[in-house]
Protein backbone atom coordinates (compact mmCIF):
# COMPACT_ATOMS: atom_id res chain seq x y z
CA UNK A 1 0.00 0.00 0.00
CA UNK A 2 2.67 2.46 1.07
CA UNK A 3 4.80 1.43 -1.83
CA UNK A 4 2.00 1.90 -4.30
CA UNK A 5 1.37 5.37 -2.93
CA UNK A 6 5.04 6.26 -3.22
CA UNK A 7 5.09 4.93 -6.74
CA UNK A 8 2.05 7.06 -7.53
CA UNK A 9 3.69 10.19 -6.20
CA UNK A 10 6.81 9.41 -8.20
CA UNK A 11 4.76 9.11 -11.32
CA UNK A 12 3.12 12.44 -10.70
CA UNK A 13 6.53 14.00 -10.33
CA UNK A 14 7.75 12.56 -13.61
CA UNK A 15 4.59 13.85 -15.29
CA UNK A 16 5.28 17.33 -13.96
CA UNK A 17 8.95 17.11 -14.92
CA UNK A 18 8.09 16.16 -18.49
CA UNK A 19 5.62 19.04 -18.73
CA UNK A 20 8.14 21.47 -17.28
CA UNK A 21 9.87 22.58 -20.54
CA UNK A 22 6.50 23.42 -22.06
CA UNK A 23 5.52 25.53 -19.09
CA UNK A 24 8.87 27.27 -18.79
CA UNK A 25 8.67 28.36 -22.43
CA UNK A 26 5.02 29.35 -22.23
CA UNK A 27 5.58 31.32 -19.04
CA UNK A 28 8.60 33.19 -20.32
CA UNK A 29 7.31 33.96 -23.80
CA UNK A 30 3.58 34.27 -23.24
CA UNK A 31 2.50 34.84 -19.64
CA UNK A 32 5.29 37.17 -18.56
CA UNK A 33 4.92 39.45 -21.63
CA UNK A 34 1.14 39.33 -21.17
CA UNK A 35 1.37 40.57 -17.58
CA UNK A 36 4.15 43.02 -18.42
CA UNK A 37 2.03 44.56 -21.16
CA UNK A 38 -0.65 45.46 -18.62
CA UNK A 39 1.68 46.73 -15.93
CA UNK A 40 3.94 48.71 -18.27
CA UNK A 41 0.91 50.43 -19.78
CA UNK A 42 0.58 52.40 -16.53
CA UNK A 43 4.17 53.64 -16.65
CA UNK A 44 6.04 56.24 -18.57
CA UNK A 45 8.72 53.89 -19.79
CA UNK A 46 11.29 54.95 -22.33
CA UNK A 47 14.21 52.76 -23.28
CA UNK A 48 17.27 53.82 -21.32
CA UNK A 49 15.20 56.08 -19.04
CA UNK A 50 13.65 55.59 -15.62
CA UNK A 51 10.13 54.20 -15.55
CA UNK A 52 7.59 56.22 -13.65
CA UNK A 53 4.06 55.29 -12.59
CA UNK A 54 1.54 57.60 -14.23
CA UNK A 55 -1.77 55.77 -13.82
CA UNK A 56 -4.11 56.02 -16.76
CA UNK A 57 -2.24 58.89 -18.40
CA UNK A 58 -1.09 56.74 -21.36
CA UNK A 59 -4.65 55.67 -22.09
CA UNK A 60 -5.99 59.21 -21.80
CA UNK A 61 -3.26 60.46 -24.08
CA UNK A 62 -4.11 57.85 -26.68
CA UNK A 63 -7.80 58.72 -26.66
CA UNK A 64 -6.91 62.32 -27.54
CA UNK A 65 -4.21 61.30 -30.03
CA UNK A 66 -4.86 62.73 -33.53
CA UNK A 67 -4.38 59.27 -35.04
CA UNK A 68 -6.92 57.65 -32.69
CA UNK A 69 -10.14 58.30 -34.63
CA UNK A 70 -8.85 57.81 -38.19
CA UNK A 71 -6.81 54.74 -37.36
CA UNK A 72 -9.72 52.94 -35.72
CA UNK A 73 -11.90 53.89 -38.67
CA UNK A 74 -9.33 52.48 -41.11
CA UNK A 75 -8.97 49.32 -39.05
CA UNK A 76 -12.74 48.84 -38.96
CA UNK A 77 -13.08 49.46 -42.67
CA UNK A 78 -10.28 47.07 -43.62
CA UNK A 79 -11.52 44.39 -41.21
CA UNK A 80 -15.11 44.59 -42.42
CA UNK A 81 -13.97 44.48 -46.03
CA UNK A 82 -11.67 41.51 -45.39
CA UNK A 83 -14.38 39.60 -43.50
CA UNK A 84 -16.92 40.05 -46.30
CA UNK A 85 -14.67 39.19 -49.24
CA UNK A 86 -12.79 36.53 -47.27
CA UNK A 87 -16.03 34.66 -46.64
CA UNK A 88 -18.12 35.33 -49.75
CA UNK A 89 -15.58 34.64 -52.51
CA UNK A 90 -14.02 31.46 -51.05
CA UNK A 91 -17.45 30.08 -50.18
CA UNK A 92 -18.74 30.60 -53.71
CA UNK A 93 -15.57 29.16 -55.23
CA UNK A 94 -15.69 26.16 -52.87
CA UNK A 95 -19.32 25.58 -53.79
CA UNK A 96 -18.50 25.76 -57.51
CA UNK A 97 -15.66 23.27 -57.12
CA UNK A 98 -17.87 21.04 -54.99
CA UNK A 99 -20.61 20.92 -57.61
CA UNK A 100 -18.26 19.56 -60.28
CA UNK A 101 -18.60 15.87 -61.11
CA UNK A 102 -15.03 14.81 -61.79
CA UNK A 103 -13.00 14.04 -58.66
CA UNK A 104 -9.79 14.66 -60.55
CA UNK A 105 -10.79 18.16 -61.66
CA UNK A 106 -11.96 18.96 -58.13
CA UNK A 107 -8.52 18.03 -56.88
CA UNK A 108 -6.74 20.07 -59.57
CA UNK A 109 -8.81 23.19 -58.82
CA UNK A 110 -8.12 22.87 -55.10
CA UNK A 111 -4.40 22.59 -55.84
CA UNK A 112 -4.43 25.61 -58.15
CA UNK A 113 -6.15 27.78 -55.58
CA UNK A 114 -3.87 26.57 -52.80
CA UNK A 115 -0.69 27.06 -54.84
CA UNK A 116 -0.18 30.79 -54.12
CA UNK A 117 0.50 30.03 -50.43
CA UNK A 118 4.05 29.04 -51.43
CA UNK A 119 4.88 32.70 -52.04
CA UNK A 120 5.96 34.28 -48.75
CA UNK A 121 3.42 36.81 -47.54
CA UNK A 122 6.01 39.57 -47.50
CA UNK A 123 6.83 38.83 -51.14
CA UNK A 124 3.12 38.98 -52.05
CA UNK A 125 2.79 42.38 -50.41
CA UNK A 126 5.94 43.65 -52.11
CA UNK A 127 4.61 42.39 -55.44
CA UNK A 128 1.41 44.35 -54.92
CA UNK A 129 3.31 47.41 -53.87
CA UNK A 130 6.03 47.46 -56.53
CA UNK A 131 4.57 45.55 -59.44
CA UNK A 132 0.82 46.13 -59.35
CA UNK A 133 0.15 49.49 -57.68
CA UNK A 134 3.38 51.24 -58.64
CA UNK A 135 3.44 54.21 -60.98
CA UNK A 136 4.80 52.06 -63.80
CA UNK A 137 3.06 48.98 -62.44
CA UNK A 138 0.61 46.54 -63.89
CA UNK A 139 -2.62 48.51 -63.36
CA UNK A 140 -1.27 51.78 -64.72
CA UNK A 141 0.46 50.16 -67.68
CA UNK A 142 -2.71 48.26 -68.48
CA UNK A 143 -4.73 51.47 -68.33
CA UNK A 144 -2.22 53.06 -70.70
CA UNK A 145 -2.58 50.17 -73.12
CA UNK A 146 -6.34 50.77 -73.03
CA UNK A 147 -5.69 54.48 -73.74
CA UNK A 148 -7.01 55.37 -70.28
CA UNK A 149 -3.64 56.77 -69.22
CA UNK A 150 -5.16 59.79 -67.47
CA UNK A 151 -6.75 57.43 -64.91
CA UNK A 152 -3.32 56.12 -63.93
CA UNK A 153 -2.23 57.22 -60.47
CA UNK A 154 0.11 56.18 -57.69
CA UNK A 155 -2.63 54.08 -56.12
CA UNK A 156 -0.93 53.77 -52.73
CA UNK A 157 0.27 57.37 -52.59
CA UNK A 158 -2.93 59.09 -53.66
CA UNK A 159 -4.85 60.03 -50.48
CA UNK A 160 -8.21 59.24 -52.05
CA UNK A 161 -7.28 55.75 -53.28
CA UNK A 162 -4.74 54.57 -50.69
CA UNK A 163 -7.15 52.89 -48.26
CA UNK A 164 -9.10 51.14 -51.02
CA UNK A 165 -5.84 50.06 -52.63
CA UNK A 166 -4.78 48.42 -49.36
CA UNK A 167 -8.17 46.72 -49.04
CA UNK A 168 -7.96 45.32 -52.57
CA UNK A 169 -4.58 43.66 -52.03
CA UNK A 170 -5.06 39.98 -52.78
CA UNK A 171 -7.87 40.50 -55.31
CA UNK A 172 -9.77 38.29 -56.29
CA UNK A 173 -9.43 36.87 -52.77
CA UNK A 174 -9.82 33.32 -53.98
CA UNK A 175 -6.51 31.82 -52.93
CA UNK A 176 -5.42 30.07 -49.81
CA UNK A 177 -6.80 27.87 -47.14
CA UNK A 178 -10.31 29.39 -46.80
CA UNK A 179 -11.51 27.48 -49.88
CA UNK A 180 -10.19 24.20 -48.43
CA UNK A 181 -11.96 24.80 -45.13
CA UNK A 182 -15.29 25.59 -46.81
CA UNK A 183 -14.87 22.67 -49.17
CA UNK A 184 -14.37 20.34 -46.21
CA UNK A 185 -17.50 21.82 -44.63
CA UNK A 186 -19.55 21.23 -47.77
CA UNK A 187 -18.28 17.63 -47.95
CA UNK A 188 -19.54 17.01 -44.42
CA UNK A 189 -23.14 17.88 -45.32
CA UNK A 190 -24.98 14.55 -45.33
CA UNK A 191 -26.36 13.30 -48.62
CA UNK A 192 -29.89 13.10 -47.17
CA UNK A 193 -29.96 16.90 -46.77
CA UNK A 194 -29.27 17.39 -50.47
CA UNK A 195 -31.98 14.89 -51.35
CA UNK A 196 -34.51 16.54 -49.06
CA UNK A 197 -33.68 19.95 -50.58
CA UNK A 198 -34.18 18.48 -54.04
CA UNK A 199 -37.59 17.07 -53.05
CA UNK A 200 -38.61 20.46 -51.68
CA UNK A 201 -37.69 21.95 -55.02
CA UNK A 202 -34.76 24.01 -53.74
CA UNK A 203 -32.11 24.38 -56.44
CA UNK A 204 -29.36 26.74 -57.50
CA UNK A 205 -28.86 29.95 -55.56
CA UNK A 206 -31.86 29.34 -53.33
CA UNK A 207 -30.52 25.99 -52.16
CA UNK A 208 -27.09 27.52 -51.69
CA UNK A 209 -28.43 30.26 -49.41
CA UNK A 210 -31.00 28.25 -47.47
CA UNK A 211 -29.28 24.87 -47.18
CA UNK A 212 -25.53 25.08 -47.76
CA UNK A 213 -24.72 28.37 -46.03
CA UNK A 214 -26.44 27.54 -42.72
CA UNK A 215 -24.72 24.16 -42.67
CA UNK A 216 -21.22 25.60 -43.01
CA UNK A 217 -21.93 28.17 -40.30
CA UNK A 218 -19.32 26.70 -37.97
CA UNK A 219 -16.64 27.21 -40.64
CA UNK A 220 -17.92 30.73 -41.32
CA UNK A 221 -17.77 31.46 -37.59
CA UNK A 222 -14.18 30.23 -37.36
CA UNK A 223 -13.04 32.25 -40.36
CA UNK A 224 -14.84 35.40 -39.21
CA UNK A 225 -13.06 35.21 -35.85
CA UNK A 226 -9.68 34.46 -37.44
CA UNK A 227 -10.06 37.27 -39.98
CA UNK A 228 -11.09 39.80 -37.35
CA UNK A 229 -8.19 38.84 -35.08
CA UNK A 230 -5.67 38.95 -37.88
CA UNK A 231 -6.84 42.37 -39.13
CA UNK A 232 -7.19 44.04 -35.75
CA UNK A 233 -3.62 43.09 -34.89
CA UNK A 234 -2.21 42.69 -38.40
CA UNK A 235 -0.39 45.91 -39.11
CA UNK A 236 2.50 44.22 -40.96
CA UNK A 237 0.49 44.62 -44.17
CA UNK A 238 0.36 48.36 -43.76
CA UNK A 239 3.95 48.56 -42.53
CA UNK A 240 5.17 46.82 -45.67
CA UNK A 241 2.85 48.43 -48.19
CA UNK A 242 2.34 52.08 -47.19
CA UNK A 243 3.90 52.60 -43.74
CA UNK A 244 0.69 54.44 -42.87
CA UNK A 245 1.21 57.11 -45.50
CA UNK A 246 0.04 59.26 -47.25
CA UNK A 247 -0.54 61.53 -44.26
CA UNK A 248 -2.29 59.23 -41.81
CA UNK A 249 -4.59 57.94 -44.56
CA UNK A 250 -3.76 54.29 -43.97
CA UNK A 251 -2.65 54.44 -40.32
CA UNK A 252 -4.00 51.69 -38.08
CA UNK A 253 -3.68 51.42 -34.27
CA UNK A 254 -1.25 48.49 -34.40
CA UNK A 255 1.12 50.42 -36.64
CA UNK A 256 0.95 53.42 -34.34
CA UNK A 257 1.88 51.09 -31.49
CA UNK A 258 4.82 49.83 -33.53
CA UNK A 259 6.04 53.35 -34.29
CA UNK A 260 5.76 54.38 -30.66
CA UNK A 261 7.70 51.34 -29.49
CA UNK A 262 10.41 51.05 -32.10
CA UNK A 263 10.74 54.55 -33.59
CA UNK A 264 9.83 56.87 -30.70
CA UNK A 265 11.02 54.43 -27.96
CA UNK A 266 7.85 55.06 -25.94
CA UNK A 267 7.35 51.51 -24.64
CA UNK A 268 4.75 52.31 -21.96
CA UNK A 269 2.55 54.22 -24.38
CA UNK A 270 2.89 51.41 -26.94
CA UNK A 271 1.85 48.85 -24.31
CA UNK A 272 -1.32 50.82 -23.56
CA UNK A 273 -2.28 50.75 -27.26
CA UNK A 274 -1.61 46.99 -27.25
CA UNK A 275 -3.91 46.55 -24.24
CA UNK A 276 -6.68 48.50 -25.98
CA UNK A 277 -6.34 46.30 -29.08
CA UNK A 278 -6.42 43.20 -26.89
CA UNK A 279 -9.69 44.38 -25.33
CA UNK A 280 -11.13 45.10 -28.79
CA UNK A 281 -10.25 41.58 -29.95
CA UNK A 282 -11.68 40.07 -26.75
CA UNK A 283 -15.00 41.91 -27.08
CA UNK A 284 -15.34 41.12 -30.80
CA UNK A 285 -14.57 37.44 -30.23
CA UNK A 286 -17.11 37.12 -27.41
CA UNK A 287 -19.77 38.99 -29.42
CA UNK A 288 -19.05 36.83 -32.43
CA UNK A 289 -19.34 33.58 -30.49
CA UNK A 290 -22.53 34.71 -28.80
CA UNK A 291 -24.19 36.00 -31.96
CA UNK A 292 -23.40 32.92 -33.98
CA UNK A 293 -24.39 30.63 -31.14
CA UNK A 294 -27.85 32.21 -31.00
CA UNK A 295 -28.14 32.02 -34.78
CA UNK A 296 -27.27 28.33 -34.65
CA UNK A 297 -29.72 27.50 -31.87
CA UNK A 298 -32.52 29.34 -33.69
CA UNK A 299 -31.77 27.26 -36.71
CA UNK A 300 -31.72 24.10 -34.58
CA UNK A 301 -35.23 24.89 -33.28
CA UNK A 302 -36.52 25.63 -36.77
Amino acid sequence: MGRAKLFGAGRYISCYLLLLPTYVLVSVFSFVPFIWAFSKSFYRYEVGGESEFIGFANYLEYFSDPTFGPSFYHMGFLTAFAVVVGIVVPLIVAKLIFSLRSEKLKHIYRLLFLAPIVVPRVAVLMIWRFMIYDDGGMINEFLRVLRLGEMATGWLFNPTTALWAVAFIGFPFASGIHILIFYAGLCNIPESVHEAALLDGATGARKFLTVDVPLVLSQIKLLVILTIISWVQGFEWILIVTQGFPGYKTMVPGLWMYYNAFSFQRMGYACSIGVILFLVILVLTVLNLRYFKSAESVQGVG
Binding site: V118, P120, R121, A174, L222, G274, L277
Partner: protein
Protein backbone atom coordinates in the same frame (compact mmCIF):
# COMPACT_ATOMS: atom_id res chain seq x y z
CA UNK B 1 -28.53 21.25 -69.67
CA UNK B 2 -26.22 19.67 -67.12
CA UNK B 3 -23.38 19.92 -69.61
CA UNK B 4 -24.01 23.64 -70.12
CA UNK B 5 -23.99 24.17 -66.38
CA UNK B 6 -20.66 22.35 -66.01
CA UNK B 7 -19.11 24.47 -68.72
CA UNK B 8 -20.33 27.64 -67.00
CA UNK B 9 -18.82 26.49 -63.70
CA UNK B 10 -15.52 25.73 -65.39
CA UNK B 11 -15.54 29.14 -67.05
CA UNK B 12 -16.08 30.97 -63.75
CA UNK B 13 -13.47 28.89 -61.96
CA UNK B 14 -10.94 29.43 -64.74
CA UNK B 15 -11.45 33.19 -64.53
CA UNK B 16 -10.73 33.02 -60.80
CA UNK B 17 -7.68 30.80 -61.27
CA UNK B 18 -6.19 32.96 -64.01
CA UNK B 19 -6.85 36.17 -62.16
CA UNK B 20 -5.31 34.75 -58.99
CA UNK B 21 -2.19 33.46 -60.71
CA UNK B 22 -1.55 36.30 -63.18
CA UNK B 23 0.52 38.51 -60.84
CA UNK B 24 2.81 35.58 -60.07
CA UNK B 25 3.21 34.75 -63.75
CA UNK B 26 4.21 38.36 -64.38
CA UNK B 27 6.75 38.17 -61.56
CA UNK B 28 8.33 35.04 -63.05
CA UNK B 29 8.28 36.48 -66.56
CA UNK B 30 9.74 39.85 -65.59
CA UNK B 31 12.45 38.30 -63.45
CA UNK B 32 14.00 36.96 -66.67
CA UNK B 33 13.99 40.32 -68.46
CA UNK B 34 16.61 43.01 -68.27
CA UNK B 35 16.23 46.43 -66.74
CA UNK B 36 16.18 48.19 -70.10
CA UNK B 37 13.47 45.87 -71.37
CA UNK B 38 11.37 46.57 -68.28
CA UNK B 39 11.98 50.27 -68.72
CA UNK B 40 10.69 50.18 -72.27
CA UNK B 41 7.53 48.23 -71.51
CA UNK B 42 6.00 46.44 -68.55
CA UNK B 43 4.49 43.76 -70.79
CA UNK B 44 6.45 41.39 -72.97
CA UNK B 45 8.35 38.13 -72.92
CA UNK B 46 12.05 37.91 -72.03
CA UNK B 47 13.92 39.16 -75.09
CA UNK B 48 16.99 37.00 -74.53
CA UNK B 49 14.86 33.88 -74.67
CA UNK B 50 13.51 34.82 -78.08
CA UNK B 51 16.96 35.62 -79.41
CA UNK B 52 18.34 32.35 -78.09
CA UNK B 53 15.68 30.56 -80.14
CA UNK B 54 16.40 32.66 -83.26
CA UNK B 55 20.14 32.16 -83.01
CA UNK B 56 19.71 28.44 -82.56
CA UNK B 57 17.60 28.43 -85.70
CA UNK B 58 20.31 30.37 -87.58
CA UNK B 59 22.96 27.95 -86.36
CA UNK B 60 20.95 24.94 -87.45
CA UNK B 61 20.16 26.38 -90.87
CA UNK B 62 23.80 27.33 -91.45
CA UNK B 63 23.30 31.10 -91.32
CA UNK B 64 25.63 31.56 -88.36
CA UNK B 65 26.94 34.84 -89.81
CA UNK B 66 23.61 36.41 -88.81
CA UNK B 67 24.33 35.92 -85.09
CA UNK B 68 24.80 39.57 -84.12
CA UNK B 69 24.60 41.08 -80.65
CA UNK B 70 24.45 44.74 -79.79
CA UNK B 71 26.95 45.54 -77.05
CA UNK B 72 27.63 48.79 -75.25
CA UNK B 73 30.93 50.43 -76.05
CA UNK B 74 33.20 50.27 -73.04
CA UNK B 75 34.91 53.23 -71.43
CA UNK B 76 34.00 56.94 -71.30
CA UNK B 77 30.87 56.15 -69.39
CA UNK B 78 30.95 59.15 -67.05
CA UNK B 79 29.53 61.37 -69.77
CA UNK B 80 26.62 59.09 -70.11
CA UNK B 81 27.51 57.64 -73.48
CA UNK B 82 25.10 54.78 -72.77
CA UNK B 83 23.55 55.28 -76.19
CA UNK B 84 26.82 54.31 -77.92
CA UNK B 85 26.46 50.73 -79.06
CA UNK B 86 28.22 48.48 -81.48
CA UNK B 87 27.07 45.46 -83.47
CA UNK B 88 29.25 42.43 -83.02
CA UNK B 89 29.19 39.11 -84.85
CA UNK B 90 29.78 36.26 -82.44
CA UNK B 91 30.28 32.53 -82.32
CA UNK B 92 27.14 30.58 -81.46
CA UNK B 93 28.46 29.41 -78.08
CA UNK B 94 29.60 32.88 -77.04
CA UNK B 95 26.29 34.45 -77.99
CA UNK B 96 24.42 31.83 -75.97
CA UNK B 97 26.61 32.51 -72.96
CA UNK B 98 25.96 36.26 -73.20
CA UNK B 99 22.22 35.82 -73.58
CA UNK B 100 22.12 33.34 -70.72
CA UNK B 101 23.87 35.92 -68.56
CA UNK B 102 21.25 38.50 -69.51
CA UNK B 103 18.48 36.07 -68.75
CA UNK B 104 19.75 35.15 -65.30
CA UNK B 105 21.37 38.41 -64.22
CA UNK B 106 18.54 39.15 -61.80
CA UNK B 107 18.83 35.73 -60.23
CA UNK B 108 22.58 35.87 -59.81
CA UNK B 109 22.35 39.29 -58.18
CA UNK B 110 19.58 38.41 -55.73
CA UNK B 111 20.85 34.93 -54.89
CA UNK B 112 24.03 36.47 -53.53
CA UNK B 113 21.92 38.30 -50.90
CA UNK B 114 19.30 35.65 -50.44
CA UNK B 115 21.53 32.60 -49.95
CA UNK B 116 22.56 33.30 -46.33
CA UNK B 117 18.98 34.31 -45.47
CA UNK B 118 17.70 31.04 -46.89
CA UNK B 119 20.22 29.01 -44.91
CA UNK B 120 19.27 30.91 -41.73
CA UNK B 121 15.60 30.21 -42.36
CA UNK B 122 16.23 26.52 -42.98
CA UNK B 123 18.17 26.26 -39.73
CA UNK B 124 15.54 28.12 -37.69
CA UNK B 125 12.69 26.16 -39.33
CA UNK B 126 14.36 22.83 -38.68
CA UNK B 127 15.11 23.42 -35.00
CA UNK B 128 11.68 24.97 -34.44
CA UNK B 129 9.80 22.09 -36.02
CA UNK B 130 11.87 19.51 -34.09
CA UNK B 131 11.29 21.39 -30.84
CA UNK B 132 7.57 21.82 -31.43
CA UNK B 133 7.01 18.17 -32.33
CA UNK B 134 9.12 16.92 -29.44
CA UNK B 135 7.64 19.15 -26.70
CA UNK B 136 4.15 19.17 -28.16
CA UNK B 137 3.82 15.42 -28.50
CA UNK B 138 5.29 14.64 -25.07
CA UNK B 139 3.06 17.16 -23.30
CA UNK B 140 -0.01 16.09 -25.24
CA UNK B 141 0.77 12.44 -24.50
CA UNK B 142 0.97 13.13 -20.78
CA UNK B 143 -2.26 15.13 -20.84
CA UNK B 144 -3.97 12.43 -22.82
CA UNK B 145 -2.79 9.26 -21.05
CA UNK B 146 -1.93 10.08 -17.43
CA UNK B 147 -4.00 11.31 -14.51
CA UNK B 148 -2.37 13.66 -12.02
CA UNK B 149 -3.54 16.48 -9.77
CA UNK B 150 -4.06 19.76 -11.59
CA UNK B 151 -4.25 18.15 -15.02
CA UNK B 152 -7.21 20.04 -16.38
CA UNK B 153 -6.06 23.31 -14.84
CA UNK B 154 -2.67 23.00 -16.53
CA UNK B 155 -4.28 22.09 -19.83
CA UNK B 156 -6.60 25.10 -19.74
CA UNK B 157 -3.56 27.23 -18.90
CA UNK B 158 -1.86 26.11 -22.09
CA UNK B 159 -4.94 26.58 -24.25
CA UNK B 160 -5.58 30.06 -22.85
CA UNK B 161 -2.29 31.16 -24.43
CA UNK B 162 -4.03 30.85 -27.80
CA UNK B 163 -6.24 33.77 -26.79
CA UNK B 164 -3.31 36.16 -26.21
CA UNK B 165 -2.86 38.23 -29.37
CA UNK B 166 0.60 38.87 -30.71
CA UNK B 167 -0.04 42.59 -30.94
CA UNK B 168 -0.27 42.78 -27.14
CA UNK B 169 2.91 40.85 -26.39
CA UNK B 170 5.09 42.24 -29.20
CA UNK B 171 6.52 45.15 -27.22
CA UNK B 172 6.98 43.40 -23.83
CA UNK B 173 8.44 40.32 -25.57
CA UNK B 174 10.92 42.57 -27.31
CA UNK B 175 11.88 44.19 -24.00
CA UNK B 176 12.23 40.74 -22.46
CA UNK B 177 14.53 39.25 -25.10
CA UNK B 178 16.51 42.47 -25.02
CA UNK B 179 16.99 42.04 -21.28
CA UNK B 180 17.98 38.40 -21.84
CA UNK B 181 20.61 39.61 -24.33
CA UNK B 182 19.14 37.48 -27.10
CA UNK B 183 18.82 40.17 -29.79
CA UNK B 184 20.61 39.28 -33.04
CA UNK B 185 20.88 35.53 -32.57
CA UNK B 186 19.10 32.40 -33.72
CA UNK B 187 17.67 31.78 -30.26
CA UNK B 188 15.61 34.95 -30.30
CA UNK B 189 13.67 33.35 -33.13
CA UNK B 190 13.72 29.69 -32.14
CA UNK B 191 12.67 29.95 -28.50
CA UNK B 192 9.54 32.08 -29.02
CA UNK B 193 8.59 30.07 -32.12
CA UNK B 194 8.78 26.81 -30.15
CA UNK B 195 6.93 28.40 -27.24
CA UNK B 196 4.15 29.62 -29.50
CA UNK B 197 4.05 26.72 -31.95
CA UNK B 198 3.76 23.98 -29.34
CA UNK B 199 0.38 25.30 -28.11
CA UNK B 200 -1.58 24.44 -31.21
CA UNK B 201 0.54 21.30 -31.58
CA UNK B 202 -0.48 20.13 -28.08
CA UNK B 203 -4.09 20.78 -29.01
CA UNK B 204 -3.86 18.76 -32.25
CA UNK B 205 -1.75 15.95 -30.76
CA UNK B 206 -4.00 15.56 -27.74
CA UNK B 207 -7.17 15.15 -29.76
CA UNK B 208 -5.33 12.60 -31.90
CA UNK B 209 -3.97 10.65 -28.91
CA UNK B 210 -7.40 10.71 -27.24
CA UNK B 211 -8.75 8.90 -30.27
CA UNK B 212 -6.26 6.00 -30.08
CA UNK B 213 -7.91 2.78 -28.82
CA UNK B 214 -7.23 1.76 -25.21
CA UNK B 215 -6.71 -1.87 -26.32
CA UNK B 216 -3.53 -0.84 -28.05
CA UNK B 217 -2.03 0.40 -24.79
CA UNK B 218 -3.23 -2.61 -22.81
CA UNK B 219 -1.70 -4.99 -25.36
CA UNK B 220 1.62 -3.16 -25.33
CA UNK B 221 1.66 -3.16 -21.51
CA UNK B 222 1.05 -6.91 -21.43
CA UNK B 223 4.02 -7.27 -23.77
CA UNK B 224 6.03 -5.49 -21.09
CA UNK B 225 6.50 -2.10 -22.75
CA UNK B 226 7.48 0.68 -20.35
CA UNK B 227 6.21 4.25 -20.43
CA UNK B 228 8.90 5.47 -22.78
CA UNK B 229 8.68 2.51 -25.15
CA UNK B 230 4.91 2.91 -25.29
CA UNK B 231 5.36 6.52 -26.43
CA UNK B 232 8.30 5.93 -28.74
CA UNK B 233 7.49 2.57 -30.34
CA UNK B 234 3.69 2.54 -30.30
CA UNK B 235 2.28 6.05 -30.25
CA UNK B 236 4.74 8.01 -32.40
CA UNK B 237 4.74 5.65 -35.40
CA UNK B 238 0.93 5.86 -35.44
CA UNK B 239 1.02 9.67 -35.33
CA UNK B 240 2.75 10.27 -38.65
CA UNK B 241 -0.22 12.06 -40.28
CA UNK B 242 -0.71 14.45 -37.39
CA UNK B 243 3.05 15.02 -37.12
CA UNK B 244 3.15 16.07 -40.76
CA UNK B 245 0.24 18.49 -40.30
CA UNK B 246 1.98 20.06 -37.28
CA UNK B 247 5.27 20.24 -39.18
CA UNK B 248 3.71 21.89 -42.24
CA UNK B 249 1.82 24.44 -40.18
CA UNK B 250 4.99 25.35 -38.31
CA UNK B 251 7.15 25.58 -41.41
CA UNK B 252 4.54 27.85 -43.02
CA UNK B 253 4.32 29.99 -39.90
CA UNK B 254 8.08 30.25 -39.46
CA UNK B 255 8.66 30.97 -43.13
CA UNK B 256 6.05 33.72 -43.23
CA UNK B 257 6.76 35.40 -39.91
CA UNK B 258 8.06 38.80 -40.80
CA UNK B 259 7.59 41.17 -37.92
CA UNK B 260 9.40 39.38 -35.11
CA UNK B 261 12.64 38.69 -37.02
CA UNK B 262 12.45 42.17 -38.55
CA UNK B 263 12.27 43.77 -35.11
CA UNK B 264 14.69 41.56 -33.19
CA UNK B 265 17.39 40.64 -35.73
CA UNK B 266 18.57 43.85 -37.30
CA UNK B 267 22.01 42.39 -38.04
CA UNK B 268 21.96 41.19 -41.69
CA UNK B 269 23.89 38.11 -40.55
CA UNK B 270 20.73 36.78 -38.91
CA UNK B 271 18.12 37.91 -41.45
CA UNK B 272 15.61 35.28 -42.49
CA UNK B 273 13.97 35.15 -45.91
CA UNK B 274 10.84 37.07 -44.90
CA UNK B 275 12.70 40.03 -43.43
CA UNK B 276 15.48 39.71 -46.02
CA UNK B 277 13.11 40.04 -48.97
CA UNK B 278 11.71 43.19 -47.42
CA UNK B 279 15.16 44.60 -46.79
CA UNK B 280 16.24 43.84 -50.37
CA UNK B 281 13.20 45.76 -51.59
CA UNK B 282 13.96 48.65 -49.25
CA UNK B 283 17.58 48.83 -50.36
CA UNK B 284 16.58 48.82 -54.01
CA UNK B 285 13.97 51.47 -53.39
CA UNK B 286 16.48 53.69 -51.64
CA UNK B 287 18.94 53.58 -54.53
CA UNK B 288 18.05 53.37 -58.17
CA UNK B 289 14.91 51.26 -58.25
CA UNK B 290 14.95 50.86 -61.99
CA UNK B 291 18.38 49.26 -62.26
CA UNK B 292 17.46 46.35 -60.03
CA UNK B 293 13.83 45.49 -60.74
CA UNK B 294 14.63 42.06 -62.28
CA UNK B 295 16.73 41.23 -59.21
CA UNK B 296 13.80 42.10 -56.97
CA UNK B 297 11.42 39.90 -58.95
CA UNK B 298 14.01 37.13 -58.95
CA UNK B 299 14.22 37.38 -55.16
CA UNK B 300 10.47 36.75 -54.89
CA UNK B 301 10.71 33.74 -57.17
CA UNK B 302 13.68 32.32 -55.27
CA UNK B 303 12.03 32.85 -51.89
CA UNK B 304 9.05 30.80 -53.06
CA UNK B 305 10.98 27.77 -54.28
CA UNK B 306 11.56 26.00 -50.93
CA UNK B 307 7.87 26.18 -50.05
CA UNK B 308 6.98 25.06 -53.56
CA UNK B 309 9.03 21.91 -53.00
CA UNK B 310 7.33 21.39 -49.64
CA UNK B 311 3.98 22.02 -51.33
CA UNK B 312 4.59 19.32 -53.95
CA UNK B 313 5.41 16.72 -51.32
CA UNK B 314 3.09 17.74 -48.51
CA UNK B 315 -0.17 18.91 -50.10
CA UNK B 316 -1.79 15.53 -49.88
CA UNK B 317 -1.49 15.01 -46.10
CA UNK B 318 -2.27 18.68 -45.59
CA UNK B 319 -5.49 18.63 -47.63
CA UNK B 320 -6.42 15.40 -45.90
CA UNK B 321 -5.73 16.92 -42.48
CA UNK B 322 -7.84 19.99 -43.27
CA UNK B 323 -10.60 17.88 -44.78
CA UNK B 324 -10.66 15.63 -41.72
CA UNK B 325 -11.79 18.67 -39.79
CA UNK B 326 -8.64 19.90 -38.06
CA UNK B 327 -10.12 23.39 -38.45
CA UNK B 328 -13.51 23.66 -36.88
CA UNK B 329 -14.78 26.05 -34.26
Amino acid sequence: MVRKRTIAIHAILMVFVVWTLIPFLFVINNSFRTTSELERSFFGLPKSLGRMATFTLYELTGKSDKIVIRTEVEGDNDWGSGGQTEMKTLEYGDSMRLLWQDLTSGYRLSWKDLRPYTLNTFFVCFITVCGVICLGSISAYIFSRYKFPGRSFLFVCVLSVMMIPQVLTLVPSFLLVKKMNLLNSYWVLILPYVAGGQIFAIFLFKSFFDGLPQDLFDAAKIDGAGHFRLYWNVVLPLSKPIISVVAILNVLGTWNNFLWPFVTNTDPKYHVVASGVYVIGKVLEGTDTVTNLPAMYAAYVLSSIPLLILFVYATKPFIQGVSAGAFKA
